[in-house]
Amino acid sequence: MNLLRKISEFLTLRKKKRFIKDQRSRSMHKYSILSIVVLFVILIIMNVLVDLLAENRFVDLTAQKMNSVSEETRKVLTDLPAEVQIIGLFERPDNLESSIYQLFVPLLDKYEELSKGKMSVSYYDPDAYPSIVFGLDPTGSTSFSKDTYVVKSGDRFVIIDPMDCLIFDSYEYSVNNRTVIVGNSVETVFTGSISYLVSGDLRRAYFTNGHSESGSSTIRDLLRYDGYECKDLYLEQQGGIPDDCEVIIINLPKSDFTENEAGLLSDFLSDGGKIIMVSDFSSYPTEMTNLFALAEKMRISITSDIIRENSPEFMLVADNNYYSKGIVSDAYSSLFGIEFVTVGESRSIQLGDYSESDATVRPILASSSNAVAHYVESNPTENLVEGTKYFALHSAIDGRTGRGEMIVLGTGFISADEYISSLGTNDDGIRFFRYLIHSLTGKTVQTPIPAKFLPSYDFTNMPSVSEQTIWTVMLIAIIPFVFISAGIIVYYRRKHK
């Protein structure tokens, strides 16, 4: 009986203990779960709050502010006078990593945000939504390619190919046939296109055609971003100059203009028109009689002499006197904020002696006082007199109905595609050329947004092949071997303890 009572007491005690333990365990379990949930909720709330409070706060540590929207763009977007749509003709990419769209999608989202509802960004794959093409251009006269962006405001639109916004390493492409992106002009292109579409002060610039003129697509694009509508001008076919023409750009023609064409241009000047003419030796030895005669009437003489810079501080390449820094005259320098531009193989532009003209001529771009000009086909001689030579001159004349103006440049470095592609659109010369056009049309534009370049990661002290081998062996053999050896020693010591 005593034993049975003891067993009964033991079992009761055990039951009690288990009950207490279960109760404690349950409450501890509940506490544990609750504490995890509470912590989770606190952390989520904290993160959401930080996300909300610091959404637009970041520091762009890159030298070129690659990940920031410039002040110029912010100004354009906050002052948008009309609604703008940006439509990507493709599905919005979800994974931007290692894709060129990482340069576009976040930036355009930022644009949308900054515009405060005046601009929308959307993506439609034209294969899935064929009607989008009709919506963009109801006339059906434009063909829209897939994988492009369309910037639209009202009835006007601009098509942007993302590839055109990328800047590639020309050396890598030409030598190794590799496409290496070294920069981008995404902001330049999109902000420029928006400015163009909403501009209430749109100007018309005509580029002459039909004389094997040099490619001008880059300068045309850049002028469009400044609020110009750029059109082709076929003087002979069109038989005249359109009334809306504010400036004519003659960019490195290789053949002469006809008398009729030169006459039309002369009349244009007399009526207060503006012309900017670029003529270097790319047309040589073709006689450009009629075209140069037009300049002569404005008291500007375009010679067949090439400018040779003798002052080392102005030479761009030590052993080449024909590539130099052109000095911007004080009047233009103070106006544009540019002191020097790169020039090369330039004709010497001189003050003409056309006595019948009462045009006033002033310098724009000159050499140092140690330069000479010699006939392009002859070598420089000791008899040449050193002095200031002109790369560009400006001439103005009071015409029949207005003040005609003409700018003549002897170098194509600042206007032709082939030079711009190597100098880059950020080059001061290109900006200078744009400002020259603005000075003729009287247009005021905001500071151009420069293209953004990635930093160069090239080695300045390239290691020799043997040095490369030594470093490679060191990194992938010796250092790991030291670690592995240490591990093996430790392992055996422990094993034999």
Binding site: I36, N47, L61, F459, L475, F483
Partner: protein, 259 residues
């Protein structure tokens, strides 16, 4: 706690684990770095991005033994009866693993030094990328610490953290899949006549919510030279959460031991 930290850190170098992890890290990163030397230029941030992609191999090696070995050898009892608090022990073990990870990254600093000798470019993107890599490492070590606490088998602990870290690398893919699934289910079960736009936005919501948890996406900004506070808060939150989970798990075991 400090004593535990020292003991734990030294234990890495008293066993082959720490040495093997360091050797592996040095070989992989060294191979990547040296393969770029002949090209005449190198963006070191590319290497950091690459290394961040192999953390699913490195981190499990570091963390697999943190708790599981103690449990297997029975020395975990000492933890429960130690004068140090259990939370302090969890933090000490985590910090020891983190210190080893930082020591492993000395290899990358050597690469940086070599790059400077070659006249290469070290800029904000490089430093930001290194910071992003270290932040990711710290997050994954916390996950690995928790994985180690869940089992007494080191291999299972390693596999668990390996899987979680590897899956986190592909959150963006899963999120897209989940978006499609959500849209599919809602469209199929659409008895209330919800508009397709709302269904699509619900799908996008699911995707965005998942993407919000993507640690790689969080630190992406550091890899392009942008400094934000949000990734730090997010990573610290994840670390705190997993260390707390580990602590609760150990605490639960302690009750069991006492019972």
């Amino acid at each position: 706690m400090i004593a535990y930290y020292k003991r734990e850190l030294l234990s890495y170098f008293r066993s082959p684990t720490g040495w093997v992890a360091m050797a592996l890290y040095a070989i992989i990163s060294g191979f990547f770095f040296s393969s770029w030397i002949p090209s005449g230029g190198f963006d070191l941030s590319g290497e950091f991005v690459f290394v961040s992609g192999i953390l699913f191999i490195v981190v499990p090696i570091i963390t697999m033994r943190l708790f599981s070995e103690e449990k297997k050898t029975g020395t975990d009892v000492l933890m429960y009866t130690a004068s140090s608090s259990l939370s302090g022990i969890v933090v000490a073990k985590y910090l020891a693993a983190l210190t080893l990870f930082l020591l492993m990254n000395i290899t990358l600093l050597i690469h940086m030094l070599i790059l400077l000798i070659f006249g290469g470019e070290i800029n904000a993107v490089t430093v930001g990328s290194l910071f992003g890599l270290l932040l990711l490492g710290a997050v994954f070590i916390a996950i690995g610490t928790f994985a180690s606490a869940t089992t007494e088998n080191q291999i299972i602990a390693a596999l668990l953290s390996f899987t979680v870290i590897l899956l986190s690398r592909f959150v963006f893919i899963f999120s897209e899949q989940f978006r499609s699934i959500t849209v599919g289910i809602l469209s199929a079960l659409n008895v209330f006549g919800i508009s397709s736009e709302r269904i699509a936005s619900a799908g996008n919501g699911v995707r965005d919510a998942m993407n919000w948890l993507d640690p790689y996406a969080k630190v992406d900004d550091y890899f392009i030279g942008v400094f934000r506070i949000q990734p730090i808060i997010f990573c610290v939150s994840v670390i705190v959460f997993f260390l707390f989970l580990t602590y609760r798990l150990m605490e639960k075991r302690r009750w069991s031991q006492n019972g």
